[in-house]
């Protein structure tokens, strides 16, 4: 069984994830509104309550990769001045 559940959900701000949520299950946010949560009842309920859409790990990684690739292309096309004050987005491998 996978350690994590993968999905997308829009961060609505305050209380999108609460102090108690963080104590109840693993949670980490990634580009493309991708969230990785602990594969347990509370993690699954949280994603469902946030109108999240469950993804496979491969699907979630593809969303993250697409976001980063687009951000890298945007960065590559910016001015040298912008490049000096913003780091080129780096690739992320989901857990």
């Amino acid at each position: 069984m996978s350690l994590f559940i993968y999905g997308t959900a829009t961060n609505t701000g305050k209380d999108f994830f609460t102090h108690q949520d963080r104590l109840d299950f693993f949670l980490a946010g990634y580009p493309g509104n991708v969230w990785v949560v602990g594969n347990n009842e509370k993690g699954a309920v949280w994603l469902a309550n946030k109108n999240g859409i469950t993804k496979t790990k491969e699907e979630a990684q593809a969303i993250v990769d697409a976001e980063i690739t687009a951000a890298q292309e945007d960065w590559d096309a910016t001015s040298e001045e912008f490049k000096e004050i913003n780091h080129r987005p780096i690739n992320i491998v989901l857990p």
């Binding site: 305050k14 209380d15 609460t18 963080r22 976001e67 951000a71 004050i85 780091h87």
Partner: protein, 329 residues
């Protein structure tokens, strides 16, 4: 072996139901219903806060978790002079910073700030050219104050408006200088042993005589930590890893350092008790931070920063008292 009575001065009480967690924090008792020893501890975690109204990469943050100020920064393509106030739930627009163009397009990039919502201050910043601009905030209006003795960006501010410090930064090249601010003017303080920029430090609850500096770029990544006593910096136990663009909150004796960058973007948090660093809960979203943080080591807030893109998300670090069963493991 010592008994609880010998160590604490009182016996472990037996109760049929648990006391409230907040009331009993730090105590231990025996629950006769569950036949278990229990205790109440403060458990910390990061939770989501209200999104910052604009995506900012750098900028000043100060105040408390429920009365914070965000000002300046580098919204892409703009000169960011905007100010927003946080009430612990949402951000409200305030008046723009008062600094006027100096020829540097990113006038408030890599600025730093400290103090409170009604008595704040911010200094330095600027890209590509550093500046020495200083401003005071009264909760409504920014007012220009005496300029710093030198141009700086990426340094740290700590302490209240009338007894603050600005230290480290880029001028260009990493800097060790410390300047003391009294709300109206500046005097020179002692130099850091290790010049650095993009570092963590004590926040608004630091002081002119008890400040903290840790991690940063020298220009490579460093984990060195130093404490200031009002006249000189002393190297103390190092931050657990080397990183820069690290977030920070707290004082010289009770601080946290979080997120940042050392190749990958980091989410981890480390806690400092004035002597040692230890692991603390991680943020949900890692980011490179440029002083967009506020609060204390037990009630912090972080907003914006640089992720894959420039971020608007806010996270809050806080603790709640929780009853836990004592086990032998």
């Amino acid at each position: 072996m010592s008994t609880y009575k010998e160590l604490i001065g009182k016996y472990v009480r037996s109760v049929s139901s648990d006391p409230s967690a907040g009331y009993a924090e730090g105590e231990i008792w025996y629950n006769t219903s569950s036949n278990t020893f229990k205790t109440a501890v403060n458990v910390f975690a990061w939770s989501s806060g209200g999104a910052y109204p604009v995506a900012i990469q750098s900028g000043a943050g100060f105040g408390t978790q429920t009365a914070a100020v965000g000002a300046g920064g580098t919204p892409p393509g703009n000169v960011g002079l905007k100010t927003f106030e946080y009430n612990g739930s949402s951000w409200t627009a305030g008046n723009n910073m008062s600094r006027s163009p100096t020829g540097s397009p990113y006038l408030s990039a890599y600025i730093a700030g400290s103090g409170t919502l009604t008595a704040g201050w911010a200094a330095g910043g600027g890209y590509p050219t550093q500046n020495n601009l200083t401003e005071n905030y009264d909760g409504t209006t920014w007012t220009a104050s005496a300029t710093m003795p030198a141009n700086r960006r990426g340094g740290n501010c700590t302490g209240p408006q009338t007894a603050g410090l600005y230290f480290a930064g880029n001028a260009p090249g990493v800097q060790a200088g410390t300047y003391e601010y009294d709300g109206e003017g500046w005097t020179a303080g002692g130099d850091l042993n290790t010049a650095r920029t993009n570092a963590g430090g004590s926040g608004p609850t630091g002081s002119q005589t008890a400040a903290l500096s840790f991690a940063g770029n020298i220009p490579g990544f460093t984990n060195k930590t130093e404490e200031y006593n009002g006249s000189s910096w002393t190297e103390v136990n190092a931050f657990p890893d080397s990183r820069s663009y690290v977030g920070y909150s707290g004082s010289q004796t009770d601080a946290i350092g979080f997120s940042g960058y050392n190749g990958p973007v980091l989410t981890s948090t480390k806690s400092y008790d004035g002597t040692n660093w230890s692991a603390a809960p991680s943020l949900a979203t890692g980011r490179l931070l440029y002083h967009t943080n506020a609060g204390t080591a037990t009630a912090a807030v972080v907003f914006g920063g640089e992720g894959t893109t420039v971020l608007t998300s806010t996270e809050e670090f806080s603790g709640t008292s929780t009853i836990q069963t004592v086990t032998t493991s």
